[in-house]
Amino acid sequence: MNTTSNSQSKTGKSGRWKFWLSLLLVVAAVVAMVAIPVFVIMPFKAQTAAGVEWSYRLRRWSPLATVAATILFLTLCVMLWRGARWPGRLAMPALLAPLLAVTWFARQNHFEWMFNPLPTADYARAGEAGSVADSDMVMAIEINGDAVAFPVRQMAYHHVVNDVVGGKPITATY
């Protein structure tokens, strides 16, 4: 061990590769964590019960894990920066980019990018609903005398509508 030759005592040359490896592993781990559920939970693919369960776990923890990974990553960068040469200094932002991307993605619901949720449910009177054809299907409910129709063509896009019908909070799904 040569502790006198260099001022960066904490990250002395011999141990630096471990920090670089950690940097890579941190990024690889959270990228995998965020990417796996995207590939498992894909339309027109079969899902297994275990696949769905693991996707749930990964989605559940990825918002927290990505932030923790980012903090860890930046800490490692600070430790490595001073002793690093230019290729190393370039590698740091290059690795940070995917890390930030997945940190952001972990907070997104990409299914709602494709199928926008309905911000507020507005209604028309039965006789004034110009957007619905007579032959269109509707999902109809009646609670406490409040009769509401959810046109299937709209529901097949939004999939979920949260609202109150006849004083009861309901969720229409299709």
Binding site: E112, R125, S131, A147, P169
Partner: protein, 245 residues
């Protein structure tokens, strides 16, 4: 269609994924994942809970409007209107792939539309093609927990389906569709009462009586059978199994 309160807590649901072509929803309050078709919590803090179903009809707009002049209709979202399904969406969907395993001995093709119902813990499925031919099917559905005489009927729009119990005051009736009448009218062999599509006796000896509605879901066969294994599939011309006294 579900009640969105679970144990006194109001949940707000979002589309959150897909599980073998049936979607997964997530509530923003607890983060639990729910299966849309069954209302069951699959994973998360509320795992094992089940949402309470709100019975809904699937009707044509014309038929619903006829029955609910004072009703209200969900308005389209102007921002995404162009993404809504086109009028021919049913034909389009019927051609989509099915990714769940297909049983070669299955009487029905995966994308056959069925009207499914569950009574006394027993599931029964009535293929839409059979309903289109016979319009009204008399059946008895049940197990040792009890048998319920019922019928399922297709509206004169060829799309709207309703099911009702066919016992009135302890007497089981045989229902028929009156031919050539629009809107559709039903009658029973025992009393010759006239009934409408809402299950109400409009004239005749039993006028004023209301049949008890049974929740029937229109679904693709491949999807229904995943969540209702052991479903009895009705075949055209089959006579209803005997109801025990």
């Amino acid at each position: 269609m579900w009640e969105s309160e679970v144990e006194g807590k109001r949940l707000t649901f979002h589309l959150a994924g897909i599980n073998n072509q049936n979607f997964i929803m997530r509530d923003e309050e607890t983060g639990t994942w729910w299966q849309q078709v069954s209302g069951e919590a699959m994973h998360g803090p509320l795992k094992g809970k089940k949402l309470t179903q709100v019975d809904n009809d699937e009707l044509t707009f014309a038929l619903w409007k006829r029955e609910n002049r004072q009703g209200r209709v969900l308005k389209p979202d102007e921002r995404v209107k162009q993404n809504y399904e086109t009028a021919d969406w049913e034909e389009k969907y019927a051609k989509l792939r099915v990714i769940t395993p297909v049983d070669p001995n299955d009487k029905l093709s995966p994308r056959t539309l069925i009207a499914g119902l569950v009574v006394n813990g027993k599931a029964a499925a009535y293929p839409l093609p059979a309903l289109e031919k016979s319009r009204l099917i008399l059946d008895n559905v049940g197990s040792d927990r009890g048998v319920t005489p019922l019928f399922i009927v297709l509206g004169d729009d060829n799309k709207s389906v309703r099911a009702f119990e066919r016992a009135v005051d302890g007497r089981t009736l045989e229902f028929y569709v009156k031919p050539g009448i629009s809107p559709i009218q039903l009658t029973d062999a025992e009393t010759a009462t006239t009934w409408d599509f809402t299950g109400k006796a409009v004239s005749g000896p039993l006028a004023g009586k209301q049949l008890k509605k049974i929740y029937a879901l229109k679904d693709y066969w491949f999807d229904w059978k995943i969540y209702h294994p052991g479903t009895r599939v009705y075949t055209l011309g089959e006579s209803p199994p005997q109801s025990k006294p």
